[in-house]
């Protein structure tokens, strides 16, 4: 099917883009890589009078590091981020999530900010941002503000961004020391939406106890989730295999998993427990080596 008619705008600055959103209100939608929005328009699941293409906004491109954070401009293509050596060194969890997104053809167009702002619960990047306590930078004609990841994902395909706000960049905390990171998921085929997935990060202290642990889940609930019970069970622990398995089960037990045509909630919960167990085992091993 073809999309219903719309008007297309190609602003070159954030200010210009914000002005268009203020002018057109909820009749306008930000277009980034379009790898989710254009299918939804073609299927007529949604419709807008105006699309504001931000891929030509230079200040929304680029990857930079400062003050313990890595900032990724929202319009940075996923393929650019995937092959960025500074990103891989600073935020390995993000680097390991990127190859899981769609297919390489999708990542050539799709953007980091687009995936985050689209907020599909089965997407990898929202779970990574949530797990790492990333900070979202929103801009509008009213000014700019920061939104914590814990406040950002408000529902399926819904975020804390107002109709007139643009996600311009995301700051990911840089973890240092003896760390390990893993992103793992179950999908029917490579590139399909995950039926369940885990983004896990751990930092060990000098005595091999867990100093910091973060576990994000995607494809499980109606939003990206944190496995809070898993993190609480492991924080400060000297992790052996049994402790990791128990923690994974505790985290899975508190998940509100969703039923749909692809998988039952029960299946998702059991797979999530298994994936958390495997991912945490791997990241702890990586941190021990590191």
């Amino acid at each position: 099917m073809k999309a219903a008619p719309f008007d297309y705008h190609a602003p070159e600055t954030v200010a210009e883009a914000a002005g268009l959103l203020t002018e057109h209100g909820d009749e306008a939608k930000v277009l980034a890589g379009g790898q989710s929005l254009l299918p939804m328009l073609a299927l007529r699941l949604t419709r807008f009078e105006h699309l504001v293409d931000v891929t030509g906004v230079a200040e929304m491109h680029g990857i930079s590091r400062s003050n313990g954070h890595l900032r990724v401009g929202a319009a940075t293509p996923q393929a650019v981020a995937e092959h960025d050596a500074d990103l891989a060194a600073a935020v390995p969890l993000l680097a390991r999530a990127l190859p899981h997104i769609g297919h390489f053809q999708i990542r050539n167009r799709g953007t980091v900010g687009g995936s985050l702002a689209h907020a599909d619960p089965a997407s990898e990047l929202p779970a990574v941002a949530l797990a790492l306590d990333a900070t979202f930078e929103a801009a509008s004609t009213r000014g700019t503000r920061d939104v914590a990841a814990s406040e950002f994902f408000t529902g399926t395909w819904s975020t804390a961004l107002a109709d007139d706000e643009i996600l311009v960049g995301t700051r990911f905390p840089v973890w240092s020391g003896r760390t390990g990171f893993a992103v793992t998921e179950i999908a029917r085929r490579s590139g399909d939406f995950a039926l369940a997935g885990v983004a896990a990060a751990v930092e060990l202290d000098g005595s091999d106890r867990i100093g910091r642990v973060a576990v994000g889940l995607f494809g499980v609930g109606s939003t990206p989730l944190r496995a809070a019970a898993t993190e609480a069970a492991l924080a400060g622990a000297a992790p052996d295999a049994a402790a990791v398995t128990d923690a994974a089960r505790a985290g899975a037990a508190e998940i509100a998993a969703v039923d749909d045509v692809h998988a039952t909630a029960s299946y998702r919960t059991r797979v999530a427990a298994h994936l958390m167990d495997a991912a945490l085992t791997a990241v702890i091993e990586e941190a021990r080596r590191g």
Partner: protein, 164 residues
């Protein structure tokens, strides 16, 4: 209804057109420029039949607006063979390995595999299967396609060139 002027280079030749905002790059190539080698099946980014190169990178032409191609270079399956009609190593390998049956998905596979082998000239079979996962084929069961990618990679490593 907003219309836009598009100027781009397609298969090495300058092209221009006037498109609606909602016109996809795939529809512009097919209906505006008559380049019907770019096939459309699902029209929502799942099947990969419409894969083209934009500035050398493989993308789905149904998930890009024609107006977004303004100022860019596009290569379609019509631009993969040599100007004299000699098939590229990827195209020849698809012929030699029976990497197609009905042929509908083939343009997308040829473009995707051309791009994939540029980035990874010596892929494992697992990497090949991941590399072609963005293209669907309902005939072959993929065995002939995987063999074609292996053969094209081997021939190109032996110096046949990518063939664009």
């Amino acid at each position: 209804m907003a219309e836009h002027h598009v100027h781009c280079v397609v298969n090495g030749a300058k092209q221009r057109g006037i498109v609606e905002s909602r016109t996809t790059l795939a529809d512009f190539l097919r209906e505006g420029l008559g380049l019907t080698g770019t096939h459309l099946a699902c029209e929502h980014g799942v099947c990969g039949a419409c894969t083209v190169l934009v500035d050398g990178k493989a993308v789905r032409a149904c998930l890009m607006l024609a107006v977004q191609a303004d100022g860019h270079e596009v290569t379609t399956v019509e631009g993969i063979a040599s100007p004299d009609g000699t098939l590229s190593p990827v195209q020849q390998a698809f012929v030699d390995c029976h990497g197609l049956q009905c042929g509908f998905c083939t343009p997308g596979f040829v473009v995707s595999v051309t791009s994939f082998l540029e980035a990874n000239p010596d892929p494992t079979e697992a990497e090949i299967r991941e590399g072609i996962s963005g293209n669907l084929c309902r005939c072959t069961g993929y065995q002939g396609i995987v063999e074609a990618v292996k053969l094209a990679a081997a021939r190109m490593r032996d110096g046949a060139g990518v063939g664009q």
